[in-house]
């Protein structure tokens, strides 16, 4: 029952936080230094500028009283009308969601690579703590986490280029570009719709980016697993299990490992925000479609509505992910006293 209470409380807090994000965007669009309409229209110059600014003024409702503007803002947010991108001349919500999902695909795959691998590495290291294997794994993980992501991505890109696969930038081969599905993640959609050829094609294009991104969580998670597993192995109940003569496999898998699942869940939630940043870098190196390339172009064009939309959406996803991580943490830990 305590767990359920906690989950309900956590969900309620995250709803509050999302409302807070909406309020921040309202402040950022309406109370900017200078004229909000000029910034919203992307600081236009030239003959069409006056018309664009007038349009933005009308969209933002700058001549309305403030409470009506707030109501309008909240209404539009929940309807999904986040304005029109200056650079792409398309609805912001469409652009953001589409590209975010493309980036999310990379993040998910890299976590799928990173977590089993880093669990294995961390376990190996903590079982021979202070020994050679531990030192090797430790320094590899420090180097992996410390290397800038563009270096990793560029090295992989360079290797692929030398081998002759320099054109992995697209998410899917040009002949499949019309393909679309319910989730927007091509690898998952193609499996759902039973198109194995598209799956293989998009999977091969995805894998280098996912590997490049996964170096960061591998480096971080492996070290956290190492530390918390080492701490668990010194716990009294592990020592009791050893005293009962239980085999090593049971002790490591059943006694030591459950202790670190909540830790890993929370860590994944915290890493998520950094992973989004890193994906943007990697997408730029591979010039692959996604949030990173979208944002780079938006910054160059001072595309204010698009960046606001991307900020809100990313922030909401982060809040949801962190809430989920906390809930997982609460469920996997039977002695919650929250």
């Amino acid at each position: 029952m305590l767990t359920l209470n906690y989950i309900i409380k956590r969900i309620f807090i995250s709803i509050l936080l999302i409302l807070g994000i909406v309020a921040i965007t309202f402040i950022l669009t309406q109370f900017t230094p200078g004229d909000p309409a000029v910034i919203w229209a992307g600081k236009p110059r030239g003959p069409g500028a006056a018309i664009a600014i007038a349009k933005a003024r009308e969209y933002l409702g700058l001549n309305l009283p403030i409470y009506q503007r707030l109501a309008l803002h909240i209404y539009r947010f929940f309807v999904g009308d986040w304005g029109l991108s200056v650079e792409f001349k398309q609805p912001v919500s469409y652009l953001v969601v589409r590209n975010f999902v493309a980036s999310l695909e990379i993040v998910i795959y890299s976590f799928a690579i990173a977590i089993p691998l880093s669990m294995w590495m961390g376990t190996k290291a903590s079982l021979s703590r202070g020994g050679l294997a531990d030192k090797c794994i430790y320094f590899v993980s420090v180097i992996l986490a410390g290397m800038p992501r563009f270096l990793v991505a560029a090295l992989i890109y360079l290797a692929l280029y030398i081998v002759g696969y320099g054109y992995l930038g697209l998410r899917v081969a040009p002949m499949y570009t019309t393909f679309s599905g319910p989730t927007g993640m091509i690898t998952i959609d193609s499996l759902l719709l039973g198109r194995l050829d598209i799956f293989i094609d998009s999977f091969l294009r995805l894998i280098p980016t996912a590997i490049a991104l996964s170096t960061y969580p591998i480096g971080v998670v492996a070290r956290v697993v190492r530390v918390s597993l080492s701490e668990t192995l010194e716990e009294e109940y592990v020592r009791e299990a050893i005293s009962l003569g239980l085999p090593r496999k049971v002790i490591v898998n059943k006694y030591a490992r459950p202790n670190i699942v909540p830790v890993i869940a929370q860590l994944v939630g915290l890493l998520f925000s950094y992973m989004i940043l890193e994906t943007m870098v990697i997408e730029n190196v591979f010039s692959r479609e996604g949030l990173g390339t979208l944002i780079s172009r938006a910054i160059a064009a001072s595309d204010y509505p698009l960046i606001i939309g991307a900020t809100v959406f990313t922030a909401i996803v982060l809040i949801v992910v962190n809430t989920l991580a906390d809930i997982v943490q609460a469920i996997t830990n039977p002695r919650v006293q929250l």
């Binding site: 703590r129 940043l277 922030a315 962190n322």
Partner: protein
């Protein structure tokens, strides 16, 4: 206040000295950090081609020269000496990193400890507000600010401060909360001393030392994050003259297959900084961890 500062410095110093004696990789990391900081301070003065380093002297006729005695790390696509560029960029990276860390540390300590000993409403508000700020992605915040403030480096620094200080305020809050029921914090408040005074005299000195180590460990990440953001900006914003590691990397990407040194030199510098700062703090952590400092092998 002075004696408090000495006490904190003494704590940090004894941690560093103890770890220095025992761990080789800590010594290497310390030396590397010292070298980076010295280079960052002296960089603009010892750069072989200061005008090229600042980006004023552009000559396409000597573009993309491989490393030689004349240009130790070669030249980039606009014919500038890569080593001079890196030395200038290093200066800027370290200074901005110190600004970000120092400001967010001070903000974090005061806001966090005020939340711990202030009124209940303030405590709740602060904890939600920090969680809200933690959810904002730094790069998007930086780009929003750069559009609002008309571009520039300051928007990146402000965005980074806004996303980093919540961490420190959270840590400071947790630490100050464990102190707030102790008599030396509770009694002065009963006697009617101001909360700011109590924070300065009694809370901050007790939580600064661990947070300073924490901040040192984050230095590498901050350097990386700044250059990551300038990397993303650099693709869009056209300010090629500015010496900045992130932008240098962004511009050298298109030449990576022709002249890999223009790319590898700045990114290797970044990697070196990040790894040595990580090692620095991790070794101290390891040395002071009751479990990790002991050896262990499979004995069951």
């Amino acid at each position: 206040m002075n004696s408090h500062i000495y006490a904190v410095l003494h704590d940090v110093e004894s941690m560093i000295v103890k770890t220095w004696r025992k761990r080789l990789s800590f010594r290497i990391a310390c030396v590397l950090i010292a070298v980076v900081i010295v280079l960052a301070i002296l960089g603009p003065h010892i750069a072989p081609y200061p005008r090229q380093g600042m980006g004023i002297d552009i000559d396409r006729s000597r573009a993309l020269k491989p490393p030689s005695l004349e240009h130790i790390l070669g030249t980039d696509s606009l014919g500038r000496d890569v080593l001079s560029r890196i030395l200038f960029a290093l200066n800027r990276a370290i200074i901005s990193c110190i600004v970000v860390i120092a400001v967010s540390l001070i903000l974090g300590i005061f806001i966090g400890s005020y939340a711990a000993i202030g009124s209940k409403i303030f405590e709740i508000l602060i904890s939600y507000f920090t969680e809200l700020l933690l959810a904002l992605p730094s790069v998007l915040l930086a780009s929003l600010l750069s559009i609002l403030m008309g571009g520039g480096y300051w928007s990146i620094l402000i965005a980074l401060i806004m996303t980093w200080f919540p961490w420190y305020s959270r840590i400071a809050y947790l630490q100050a909360r464990s102190l707030r029921d102790l008599d030396f914090v509770k009694l002065p408040i009963y006697y009617g001393l101001s909360r700011w005074y109590v924070i300065q005299k009694h809370i901050a000195p007790n939580i600064v030392a661990p947070m300073l180590i924490e901040a040192l460990s984050d230095t590498g990440s901050v350097v990386l994050e700044i250059s990551t953001i300038t990397f993303l900006f650099g693709i869009g914003v056209k300010s090629i003259e500015e010496p900045d590691l992130g932008m240098m990397i962004a511009y050298s990407l298109r030449d990576i297959t022709v002249a890999p040194w223009t790319f590898l030199a700045p990114s290797a510098t970044l990697a070196l900084i990040a790894i040595s700062f990580t090692l620095f703090s991790e070794m101290i952590y390891e040395e002071y961890h009751p479990v990790l400092k002991k050896r262990w092998w499979l004995w069951f």
